[in-house]
Structures are given as C-alpha cells and as structure tokens.
Amino acid sequence: MSTLHTVNKSPFDRSSLETCLRLAGKGNAVLLLEDGVYGAMRGSNASGMVETALSDVSIYVLGSDMKARGVDVDKIIDGIKVVDYKGFVDLTVEHDKVNAWL
C-alpha cells in the first residue's frame, strides 16, 4: 500500500511535517502544499530534517503555492520535485491512498 502524504503547514509553525516524516513508510511520497511549501526551502532550520528524509521518501512541492509565496525554484532543496495541480492529481492516482497531515 503506497501512500501519498500531504503536508500543508509550515514546519516552523506546526509539527505536521515532522510527524509525517516520522510516520511515513519507506518509499512513500510526500507532497508539500499551501504553507507546507516553506518546508522545501534550502538553508533553514528545517532543511536538515527534510534532506535526511529524502533518502526514504520522495518529496514533491506544489509549484503554484510556491509562486504565490515568492518561493523561487532556485531555493528548493535538491531532490524535491515541483509539480502542478495536474501532477498532484497524478500523484494521488499513482499511490493507493492519501494521508493528509493537517
């Protein structure tokens, strides 16, 4: 059962991303959207946690939410893939279920 996890909260404001990464199974995928996109940025106090997680899970970030917030693609951690809403839909299809860490 491969799972797509969604995280829509900043890792500085809430524990959602940390808890998601603690409980996501190996090989699962994580999509960062809404305020969750800040978790994709390089050089922050949360970056280390995310970079470590990339060896166990695939991480995606929603491009339209990045653009809205002025988060440039150049500032994203290597290995995180940017998707649009069509890509988000595709991810939900490719995985067996979606787990939203609100």
């Binding site: 059962m1 959602s16 409980l23 279920k97 787990n99 609100l102």
Partner: protein, 135 residues
C-alpha cells in the same frame, strides 16, 4: 475492492481548544454503523483527547470525553496511541481513560481498546489502511 475497507481516523489535535477532536469522534460513531474495519490513531496533541478526568462544567461547554467509552460497544476497539507522542508530553497510559471492549470471539472477555505503539509500528499500521480520514 473488498466490501469491507480498512478505515483509519487520525487525530492530532487537543480537545476543546478546537472542535476537530469532537467532530472527528462524531464521524467515527456514525461510521461504526457502516461496518468497516475501523482503526483510530492518536498522535501529537491528539493523545490529550484521551486524558482522564475531563470536566468542562466551569467553561459551560459540552464534555464529550465520556463518548470515547462508548466506542467499544460500536466495535471500534483498535485505538492506537503513538508512544513517542505520549512520552514527549510526559504522559503514560495510566494518565489515559481505560477504554475497554468485550471480545465476542473470546467469550466476551473484557479487553483494552487502547494500544500504545511506537512510531515504527504505527507507520506499519498506517501502511495497511485503505482510507485515511484527517481532521
């Protein structure tokens, strides 16, 4: 797709500060009538939902904590509390309500509904689910 699906309700919020805990419990109760294979997880501040001795009388709002005790009667008896979340909050299982159910496959023996599980085990349980409800 089988007739019975594995349903998981994930609770990550404390009670009363927001309504998510209570309205989540309402879904679990209604859902029980649909005879799915139901599990409920309590993670992060969600573990506070199960603290003993809740008394909202001074606030003048409804105390919904007694409703958790009814879950066993609705065959909702797989309640998973993440060990790491409990420990971070300085809590043990003795701080939680003693939720029980009668096991019809074991001569109606009374058993504990709450299972404290480490993150790795909860991750496995989450992997086995088919539908995850979040609140």
């Amino acid at each position: 797709m089988s007739d019975i699906k594995k349903f998981m309700y994930v609770n990550r919020t404390a009670p009363y500060g927001t309504i998510y805990a209570w309205e989540s419990l309402e879904v679990v109760l209604i859902g029980a009538a649909f005879e799915q294979d139901v599990s409920v997880a309590f993670v992060d501040d969600g573990v506070y939902q199960l603290l003993k001795g809740q008394d909202t009388s001074e606030l003048g709002i409804k105390n919904f904590s007694p409703t958790y005790a009814a879950l066993g009667d609705y065959d909702v008896n797989k309640l998973y509390v993440e060990k790491e979340s409990l420990e971070a909050r300085g809590l043990t299982i003795d701080d939680l309500m003693a939720l029980k159910y009668e096991d019809e496959d074991d001569d109606w023996a009374e058993k504990d509904s709450i299972h404290v599980v480490p993150a790795a085990e909860l991750a496995d349980i989450l992997e086995q689910q088919e539908v995850v409800f979040s609140f």
